[in-house]
Symmetry: C2
Subunit: 215 residues, 2 copies
DNA sequence: ATTCGTATGGTTGTCGACAGTCCACGGGAG
DNA sequence: CTCCCGTGGACTGTCGACAACCATACGAAT
């Protein structure tokens, strides 16, 4: 039942139904969700680990306010982890790419059905990248990447600016590079992630400009 | 008070006072540590995040049995994170290396005082690498690295086979490369970590040989 | 008017108790 | 003798209650 509370809260935060900066009161949430305080407490702890919630002792938890720097940081961390995974894949024997192909297939299918980034496209995207990291065969890298999944989902949902024309083909190129065991695969992964990061960085510059004009 | 329980349990597991595979009963530990079940529960959750404890719903927690593959994996994950951090440092402006120099100083001092790897040397080692990652300015990378600290400490304590002659100089080379902003710094970091990993891999080979002979 | 001290409401930290679940042991049938 | 089923014990999952703590609002003194 704590799992149910966790999913409920996570979804509510990602969808923005609970706004950023909103404090999460344990008793209140317990009453709303029809459960006890323990379950809410556990769920909040997990959400803290996932980076969706800030927490201070004796102060309580609040939905994290994601600054532009934070959003960039998600991609910085993902770049380190995913390129490391790619390097690891190339270092070892050729892995079974069946699941990755299937993930790409689902990504192409959902992207074809909808002509913009929807939740199903986001799910397929994240599934693709998680499978990529999983192929490195490192439980700890996979774990580290999974903790970033919630934030990634949040970013993709509120910041869906990726060049739609090359959205699927870029992922296909990653798979292709992996199939050919191209030594440049890590750089390709980095470039793919940096594309999203640069779009956010542009937003950061716009913010700077905006605040500068105000001041 | 949950923090106290956490430190107590973590230290006991790292030192091996609680053997691997030992189940962690909440009531029992609560009685032993003179606290309630909640504190023990919270501490166990954190230890699960740190990879020291395995957990299954309705089954309880047990001290994780670290296979050789697991020990290797710690270094695989660290290599991805730390090389990513090094790349990030080189990509940005030159950071303030004061703290890193101080960490190296402490490392050299403790290594000079003791002629083998002791707990204080381990602390200095981990502090050095954590500062290295911190310099990348990525909270998420730092966080991911911190979750590996406990396992790293455990490994260094039970597997202190690093070429002692180059132990300090290798770290000094890392700092030097960072000061010179050497583009090869990430490879240097990777080599440093792979040295430890290879020693463990040798142990893995020995294990394989041993089991093969038994069979 | 400002600042310090105090009080008060609300929230988290912690605890013990009850219910649900899993596992191991034991008994009976084949 | 082996296998299946039932039962008991122990442990975790969950809950509500009490205590500790923090923050804010209010009042008084300077």
């Amino acid at each position: 039942m704590t799992e149910q509370v966790l999913r409920e809260l996570r979804e509510a935060i990602i969808e923005g139904r609970i706004p950023q900066g909103e404090p999460l009161r344990e008793v209140s949430l317990a009453g709303t969700l029809g459960t006890g305080r323990s379950a809410v407490r556990e769920a909040i702890r997990q959400l803290v680990q996932e980076g969706l919630v800030d927490y201070e002792p004796h102060r309580g938890a609040m939905v994290r306010v994601m600054s532009v720097a934070d959003r960039l940081d998600v991609y910085i961390a993902r770049e380190a982890i995913e390129t490391g995974a790619a390097r690891r894949i190339l270092a070892g024997p050729a892995p079974d790419l069946t699941h990755l192909r299937a993930a790409l297939e689902r990504l192409g299918q959902t992207a074809c059905d909808h002509d913009r980034i929807t939740d199903s496209v986001i799910d397929a995207d994240i599934a693709f990248h998680e499978e990529l990291v999983r192929l490195a065969g490192s439980p700890r890298l996979t774990r580290a990447h999974e903790t970033l999944a919630a934030e990634t989902r949040m970013l993709l949902r509120h910041h869906p600016a990726y060049p739609w024309a090359s959205y699927v083909t870029d992922h296909a190129q990653l798979l292709d590079a992996l199939e050919r065991r191209d030594p440049a695969t890590p750089e390709l992964v980095a470039a793919h992630l940096r594309l999203s990061a640069d779009l956010i960085a542009g937003e950061l510059a716009a913010d700077r400009k905006e605040t500068a004009r105000v001041n």
